[in-house]
């Protein structure tokens, strides 16, 4: 049908907590093409991580549940898939994740080799020995020095950057079509960040996989992504090519977000740091209508009554009655 590796349509994910239901992902739609990098941007609590977990089928149990919409990977519907199938056929094989914190994302009591080999063994049904040989190659590919020696080492013997490479090797060992990187750089030094982003670029180039890059860091997103989707309170408020978005943010929230980041080359509106007034809404008690309405300077009555749909507007999608 298309060259899209992933199409997400009206995805709704709820967290059923004791105190109530959190609509963590609320009617989210986006797509990623092969070889494309989509940045998913938002503050913490905006639902971007939940979106990533929804794609992986790793919502917290028993609270998290996909209650609506569809996730299509290469045309295959994932949202109704059971856990066993998800684990056997999707995770690590079709979709993989590079997680937030390299320091804690590797199991401290297993050797690097066995951890990298685990998905290979799982998805290719290789013998332990072949899997270990392949794991060595993978480590080589992510430029871990002397991998044959390092496979018998343990995570605590690796630096943070090296661990992140190991994680990348583990995630991409089975050449997934979609890679989800959830804040992979936030815990790293800036120089290491750059190296890792290079690596991600390289891996993506090699495999032609789509990459969903989840971050709150607008700068990182700008340097790595082709397109960007901005999330606020569980909904995507704006999707655009990265250059367009940074050049001319359309949604009031996006504008506020960009304005609040001090950046070289982009002038802030009033010449000083800006912060969006108010606070994000209580996820347990989202307001009627547009979730951003209480903080929006363009707010109209209608915004409090109806949720603005995400509407295509000349190559970018915006969910705002006023901007449309």
């Amino acid at each position: 049908m298309s060259t899209n590796v992933l199409e997400v349509q009206d995805l709704q994910t709820h967290l059923h907590l004791r105190r109530g239901v959190v609509k963590a992902v609320n009617q989210v739609s986006f797509s990623i093409a092969y070889g494309e990098t989509l940045g998913l941007i938002g503050e913490s609590g905006s639902g971007k991580t939940m979106t990533g977990l929804s794609l992986l089928g790793l919502l917290p149990r028993p609270a998290g549940r996909i209650v609506g919409g569809s996730i299509r990977l290469n045309g295959r519907e994932l949202s109704q898939l059971n856990q066993a199938t998800y684990a056997a056929q999707i995770r690590g094989k079709e979709i993989a994740m590079i997680s937030q914190d390299p320091m804690t994302s590797l199991n401290p009591v297993f050797s690097i080799g066995s951890q990298v080999a685990a998905p290979i063994r799982r998805h290719r049904h290789d013998t332990d020995q072949t899997a270990l040989a392949l794991a060595t190659e993978e480590l080589h590919r992510v430029r871990v020095p002397s991998p044959a020696l390092r496979i018998s080492h343990f995570p605590h013997q690796f630096s943070g950057g090296m661990r992140q490479r190991v994680i990348a090797a583990m995630a991409t060992a089975c050449r997934p079509n979609l890679l989800i990187a959830d804040e992979p750089t936030s815990a790293l030094d800036v120089t290491i960040q750059v190296q890792l982003m290079d690596l991600l670029d390289q891996l993506q180039d090699e495999s032609g996989a789509g990459l969903l890059f989840i971050t709150h860091d607008l700068g990182v997103a700008a340097s790595l992504c082709d397109r960007v989707a901005v999330m606020y309170a569980g909904s995507v408020v704006e999707t655009a090519a990265v250059t367009d978005l940074y050049a001319a943010p359309a949604h009031p929230y996006t504008r506020g977000l960009l304005a609040s980041v001090p950046r070289i080359g982009i002038k802030t509106e009033r010449g000083r740091l800006f912060s969006i007034p108010g606070t994000p809404p209580d996820p347990l008690d989202l307001p009627m209508g547009c979730a951003f309405a209480p903080r929006c300077d363009l707010v109209k009555d209608r915004c409090h009554r109806e949720s603005p749909p995400l509407i295509d507007k000349g190559g970018r999608e915006i969910a705002c009655f006023e901007v449309q």
């Binding site: 992986l56 790793l58 856990q83 066993a84 998800y86 684990a87 056997a88 056929q89 999707i90 995770r91 690590g92 094989k93 993989a96 994740m97 997680s99 937030q100 914190d101 804690t104 994302s105 590797l106 199991n107 401290p108 009591v109 297993f110 050797s111 951890q115 685990a118 998905p119 799982r122 998805h123 343990f154 605590h156 013997q157 994680i167 583990m170 995630a171 060992a173 089975c174 989800i180």
Partner: protein, 306 residues
């Protein structure tokens, strides 16, 4: 790791020394040590000779070191009752006690692992509640009563299992349960909270994100991590198990160190009692060293001295 082990070894030695000291003090409380050391056909002259030979006129400290010396070479004297070396009597029965303690421990672990894991996986479910009830009863029911109830139920009423003595596998079942009952509670709790932490961890999410099966994740990835606190528990409880084994041995007429020492107490066979007490302290220290070593096997961070 080496330094850590060395310090643990040192601590263990101090502890054994302490045990020997306590035995020495108790021995002095028992009365004339000559009477305890000499054979029954000793004459007054023998007494005098031995008094000089043992330096009993010398300061207590000197006497203590002499005692320590004989303990170090395994000389606890002869059993009054059996005229054989006291240590041999105890060592003969040590395998039976260790068999019981290990079986009890295995029972506890085999029960605690699924209880702990499932109560962590399904918090507040019936498994969790069953585990809680287990924990509550485990700590409030003494092992000797459990033992008697097991005999009453499985041996007397149902006639399924033998109630007394050592023999084949079936003889081991009831005593092992009676002994393993107590630590189940603590182990389950430890494992539960460890698993709860571990299952929330990033590396488990990572393992899931590459598609590993849930079974492998829980029973291999997570459990291996939980093994460290569990091993600590096992070390802590082994003292309990040894002491508990003494009681359980009496309940089930198990021919181990405990029953032998209890009989020796009633027979005022002091050399056997002191050999039993010192040996149990030594075994306790050794087991704890083994547990320390096992940390290294389980957790490479400890192995590499972090």
């Amino acid at each position: 790791m080496a330094r850590y082990l060395f310090s643990r070894l040192w601590q263990g030695l101090i502890a054994i020394l302490g045990a020997v000291l306590i035995v020495f003090i108790a021995q002095r409380l028992a009365g004339d040590p000559l009477a305890l050391l000499l054979p029954m056909d000793a004459s007054e002259a023998d007494f005098e000779a031995l008094r000089v030979e043992l330096g009993l006129d010398q300061p207590l400290l000197v006497q203590f070191f002499r005692f320590l010396q004989s303990v170090l070479v395994g000389d606890f004297g002869y059993s009054y009752q059996w005229q054989t070396p006291a240590l041999d009597l105890i060592l003969d029965r040590l395998p039976a006690t260790l068999e019981l303690a290990v079986a009890g421990l295995l029972f506890a672990i085999v029960l605690a692992i699924p209880l702990g894991v499932f109560s962590a996986l399904y918090q507040d479910s019936w498994v969790d509640r069953v585990a809680k009830v287990f924990a509550m009863l485990g700590q409030a029911i003494p092992s000797f009563w459990i033992g008697l109830l097991l005999i009453l139920f499985f041996a007397v009423t149902l006639n399924w299992l033998p109630a007394y003595g050592r023999g084949n596998l079936s003889h081991l079942v009831l005593p092992a349960i009676a002994l393993g009952w107590y630590p189940v509670a603590a182990m389950t709790r430890t494992l539960r909270s460890a698993m709860l932490d571990i299952l929330q961890s990033d590396y488990i999410r990572m393992a899931r994100s590459v598609g590993l099966s849930e079974r492998a994740i829980i029973w291999k990835y997570a459990l291996r991590n939980a093994a460290v606190p569990l091993a600590t528990m096992i070390g802590v409880y082994f003292a309990n198990m040894l002491g508990g084994a003494f009681v359980v041995e009496v309940v089930f007429a198990w021919p181990g160190v405990g029953r032998t020492v209890v009989e020796a107490v009633f027979n005022r066979d002091f050399p056997v009692v002191q050999a039993g007490v010192i040996l149990s302290a030594v075994v306790f220290v050794l087991v704890n060293l083994l547990v320390d070593l096992s940390y290294g096997l389980i957790d490479p961070r400890i192995r590499h001295g972090r």
